[in-house]
Amino acid sequence: MAKVDWPAAEQRSIIGKRIDRADGSVKATGAAKYSFDINRPAMLWAKVLSSPHARAEVVSIDTAAAEKMPGVKGVWKDDAIVGKEVLYVGQIVAAIAAETEEAATEAIHHVKVEYKPLQHQVRDADPALFQGDPAKRENGNVDEALGKADLVHTGYYGVPVITHCCLEPHGQVAELRDGELYVWPSTQSVFGYGDRGLADAAGVPQNKIHVDCQYMGAGFGSKFNPGKWGVISAALAKTSGRPVKLMLDRDLELAIAGNRPSGFAKIKVGATKDGNITAFDCEVWGTAGMSGGPPDLMPYVFDKMPDQRRTVKRIATNRGPSAAWRAPRHPQNCYLTMSALADTAAALKMDELEFFLKNIELTKRPEFDAPKVYTEELKLAAEMIGWKNKAHLRGAGGPGPVKSGLGLSLHTWGGQGHGSECDVTISPDGSVEAKIATQDLGVGTRTCIAMVVAETLGLPHEVVKVQIGKNEFPRSGGSGGSTTIGGISVSSRRAATDALNEVLAKVAPRLGAEPDALEAKEGVIRVAADPKKKITWKNACGMLGVTAVTKRGVNVPGDSAKANLTSAGVGGVQMADVSVDVETGVVTLNELVAVQDCGLVINVKLAESQVFGGMIMGITSALYEEAVYDAKTGRMLNADMEFYRLAGIKDVGKLKVHMMTTPDYEKRGVIGLGEPPVISPAAAIGNAVANACGVRVPNLPLTPDRVLAALSQKGGVV
């Protein structure tokens, strides 16, 4: 019988190889139909109207004039909000569906909403804005430990709210047909998407919702649920009797469809003069809109010092609600902690790498041998970036106006596979099909399912037909928290193994061997000890007669972790090499290197792409991204892509990635990778900038004005 355990490297022909993504050609030629691209017969276009006030009472919503506009076929208004308050600019209050996008855009301006503006609050950078009792946690006696320390570093650092800026906006096409609701959403949770809100809006039972998302233009944590816009489009489909497309316009997408909480901190680090961290004290504040709070994982990674304290203040603001953003909480905590630690090293006049290595035992955690992993990764990364030759003490970045510097950061993540079910069917003609209600956010899920099934059956990966993106397929979790690859690789491995075992049982008598003695390799089923005794895959499947074999594989996370099929806990290290022009304040990223562990890598090519992608998103947050709010009007001032800036191809410098793929790492099974590489870039770059120009630029993004302001506080050009 074939076993479900992952095969060792020397026995694999597909897993762990560099294979092109299965849908690469469909995407590169524009043939892939994203949710935004779905055009249904007789489809209407919907546009929404949202609040221009950060806080106001809604007195009335009058859609009468809009309803009379040419082409208007459906109207929705938020009756429940009348007499109550809107709490942020961009809160949706009405929507219009019309024959064309232009007609809907025009008609929506004829909806009349009367507001009574109220006092609002959108600022988040000042801890004095916090009211109430902060959340406090203390281990040991921090004041005493700081009192005994040879050196106490005190610093302030800040990470602003940033947004998801998914290139495909949030939204869906909704269609009611014969009492069933068909939706084509842009979502990262195909199975969970058809929720109660959607069912109620369309007036159908929840089991009559058909979700179809074949291609989606990224989510980064913000696209699990239908959202208000999804519910509205379903309601409009019901009232108009026509399919309705509702996708958010870019300004609204940026303002309300996903915000990552800000995090600001005052931090004290106590250390001995030879560089051992002895105490950590922090006051953290920030906003996640009206509810939720700033990051509270402080201190980050280096969290085993006995004396530590954190005080967390959640500042409520009249801003769009927050959404999970790739590695929720980690990038902010990482930046705040790693900055304070690097500043402590600088105050001790120690090399940053030496200081982090010296304290590496503080990274201990139960899931994996973190000190060992980080030590190995730090050494590799240092080699890749040339730390030994380039490193210098803070501020010694060269004689001219352009200073150079290095910085580093460490991060961690869980990433164990989520619950997942997969059906694998082997047909008598030899064809193979896998079905899972999962989704491919661009990470290569389709490709990896095909690879796992093909490896299991000893076939080329191209022959496996993979069907995903519909909630009618076997249940699988949403793509959040780097849980997809572990989930779908185990469920598809189990399904393919069980299906193969049925085939092996059929062909064993023909080969004169027990099923246990057989293996599926290179397109044949053969006796492992005597490979000349074989039967082609096609002929073997022909012995199934007229009945295809379908087996369901299930990933139960706890069980699979015990069997080392998937587990949680990875470590990663990144190092940055920057130049800072101290006359203009411009930061140039010369190079960023990443060394990352994620257990057994299914497809090295796609895994590296994930890491490159995380690094680039992290670079963008380090240098450019910030949702800028105007305190007076309460509006986001840069809700467009000119001024909410993303890094372009020329901005990212040289990138190097190394995946840890030795047997030591592989033995922990398949672990997710989406989150980890996005965590460290801002911290590593921030530390490199401080190393180059001799002063800490405390607030992200590291824009020229902030660099110059930091330098001027130090006394100008160094």
Binding site: K116, G614, D640, G648
Partner: protein, 206 residues
């Protein structure tokens, strides 16, 4: 107190929003295609084209397509909403990100920032016209080979821009490629593969 405002509440006017506004009200002939027919139509209507739908013919990927659009409709919306040509994507909708890039007479252009009526009589090539999954062009093959795409929503714009770029700049250096693709943005972070892909395509090494 009642107010009239746009859907975001953001007080901003883009060039494209301005064009749309003009198109909705009193489209000036100076903004439109020089095609004689259009001028004649406008002249017959007091110098105004629209605001109602007018019939136009667009030459897309070598095929003439007839459609009716209001003069304010952008080329991007005409392609996506009227003709189901959905390769070009709507992302920023104001000429920043390049996801809507098409070739107009061989030159890359942001189709969100051009009116459909302006495109009459010109050869429009979208990503679909550059290759099919079975017969990709050199740039598309290189994008697959170097995994220069993740979610893929920016990819059609990049592929189209890069195709125009490599035609003009064979053997381009990495610096030149960065400049050449500076008009497009990706959120997933696929630039590393893209740089390799475009360099390969520019050398014909695909």
């Amino acid at each position: 107190m009642s107010e009239r405002h746009d859907s975001s509440g953001a007080a901003s006017v883009s060039r494209r929003g301005f064009l749309k506004g003009v198109g909705a009200g009193t489209a000036a002939t100076a903004l439109l295609s020089p095609v004689a027919l259009r001028e004649a139509q406008a002249a017959a209507n007091g110098g105004v084209l629209g605001p109602d739908e007018i019939p136009i013919t667009l030459r897309i990927n070598g095929r003439n397509r007839q459609l009716r659009v209001e003069p304010r409709v952008t080329l991007l919306d005409a392609l996506r909403n009227r003709l189901d040509v959905t390769g070009p994507k709507k992302v920023c909708d104001r000429g920043t990100c390049g996801a809507c890039t098409v070739l107009v007479d061989g030159q890359p252009a942001y189709s969100c920032s051009m009116l459909a009526v302006e495109a009459e009589g010109r050869a429009i090539t979208t990503v679909e016209g550059l290759g099919t999954p079975e017969r990709m062009n050199a740039v598309q093959k290189a994008f697959v080979k170097h995994d220069a795409q993740q979610c893929g929503f920016c990819t059609p714009g990049f592929v189209t821009a890069a195709t125009a770029f490599v035609r003009k700049n064979p053997n381009a250096s990495p610096d030149e490629i960065c400049k050449g693709l500076g008009g497009n943005l990706c959120r997933c972070g696929t630039y590393a593969g893209m740089l390799l892909a475009v360099a390969d395509a520019a050398k014909g090494r695909v």
